[in-house]
């Protein structure tokens, strides 16, 4: 069993491309220097957390939350909300109480 995990671990070790791909998913641009730097550090962290592989967890339920709360219901009543001007006041760019962002769909294309 240990042997299988050792092989899996080799496959899972993170490399530069994986870090670049993941940073793209997270919408963070990285410089070449950062990419090299982070790859080494993340590889070391992942090697450390691999100690979890030694545990057999097949029969365990995951704990995503410690409380015994399944769902929280409330009466469906309309309550006062923040004024729109307050909600957008911190936006770097806004217009008519709306958030303003660069064009998303290019009509020309």
């Amino acid at each position: 069993m240990r042997h299988i995990y050792a092989i899996l671990n080799q496959i899972m070790a993170i490399n530069r491309d994986a870090v670049k791909y993941t940073a793209d998913l997270a919408r963070i641009e990285l410089s070449d220097k950062e990419l090299g730097h982070f790859t080494g550090q993340l590889d070391k962290i992942l090697a450390y957390v691999d100690k979890l592989s030694s545990l057999d967890v097949a029969k365990l339920d995951p704990t995503s939350h410690v409380l015994e709360i399944k769902n929280v219901y409330r009466e469906d009543v309309v309550k006062a909300s923040l004024p729109a001007a307050d909600v957008v006041k911190n936006a770097p760019s806004k217009e008519n109480n709306l958030f303003k962002v660069p064009k998303i769909i290019d009509i020309e294309a």
Binding site: R27, V49, D61, I69, V72
Partner: protein, 490 residues
Amino acid sequence: MELNTLTCHNLIDLLYKKTISPIDICNSIIDRIEKTEKRLNALAHFDKEKALERCKSLKKGPGQGSLWGIPIFIKDNICVKNEMTTCSSNILQGFNPPYNATVIEKLISLDAVLMGKTNMDEFAFGSSTETSCYGPTRNPWDLDRIPGGSSGGSAAAVAADEAIFALGSDTGGSIRQPASLCGVVGLKPTYGRVSRYGLIAFASSLDQIGPITKDVEDAAILLKAIAGHDEMDSTSADVPVSDYVSGIKKGIKGLKIGIPKEYFIEGMDQEVKDSIKSAIKKLESLGAVCEDMSLAHTEYAVSVYYLVATAEASSNLARFDGVQYGMRAEGIKSIIDMYKKTRREGFGDEAKRRIILGTFALSSGYYDAYYLKALKVRTLIKRDFDEAFKKFDVIVTPTSPTPAFKIGEKISDPLTMYLSDIFTISANLAGIPGISIPCGFTKNHLPIGLQILGKPFDEETVLRVAYNYEQNTEWHKQKPNFTNGAMHHL
């Protein structure tokens, strides 16, 4: 008498006798800050005129709210309406929340005086307060050392008497570890005890707001002030809030205390170990029954935490994208370009590292191997505590394996930094309450902290054990003397 050096319960007595006024306290705090803040850098945002104005606008008292006229500092990740709230991050520069966190509403309703915001690791990502965009906070016991983190600003301000008390937040030890390293009291309540509404989320299943204070009685007062169910936070628990202050004064005779062997590891500081052993003897002399026991899965806690916490963080921090608040990068070509450049410029190294690690742990192909596996091992860690609390009333451990380390010592090696949370993380994963109280000093006069962990929603017993120990020792009365000391690394 210098009012800034007193505790909240001292000040309440004086205010009731009308020998002092809220303005006197406020002025004493301002004087202290003007003298010491240049050396400490404990505060992220502080405007003395505003603080005085708040003080002057208090209703006439005493006899108003239970915290009438008491000044309080707030960690910079807790929203205060129309006050800069930045999580010590560049990406949130200029953010003035349009609403108050529930804990802030509670403090205002009790007539406490909001003084300002304390420095922290960026988005609470760190154990040293070095990742702040405002620069590191210094430890008042040795200005070349870190105060711990991420609530390092709150702990340093309280230790240095710039604050009477402060709020921090604790995701993996961010209240307890800096309290330990600065020689003050820090309490992480049970998950769900205090509303998280208005706390800028780091890891939603682990975060809790809690007090950082000069003594245990103040921690009880402040917990009572902020605890309770809140319909604005669906994970806040509907469990009655005790009168913690009257509860702490009972004795601890016959109380069963577990000492987990996994918390006395090789490589930990010998002076820390010795102090904890003496503290255990002291608890025994007060009538508690201490017994060695085991929390078998302790060694997996750091691994579980850095997968679960970063996964949740990567999701929570997706909202910082240059659209709704904070900064937006200049010279952008498209919306994706805007996200990427804003996040590149706005986040510091540790934030980027954690977001990428968390995104990786959640990504297709790795989810089962990392994130799901970590959640399953979290079950084992929680079970260890469930079992232990069938037999023991509280568990006592060191808060941190070492005293405060040097500024710069661990910042370039994330894994080493992560391991400094090794004794505090399990409480967050299991959702249980924990406190750190002063229990000694190294020969270099660096504070050492004792951690007391309790059953879910049994803060009362945790505080009671802490109070009994504290009242029979002198550690909490020691004050750092740093105003004339040499300071390097400037």
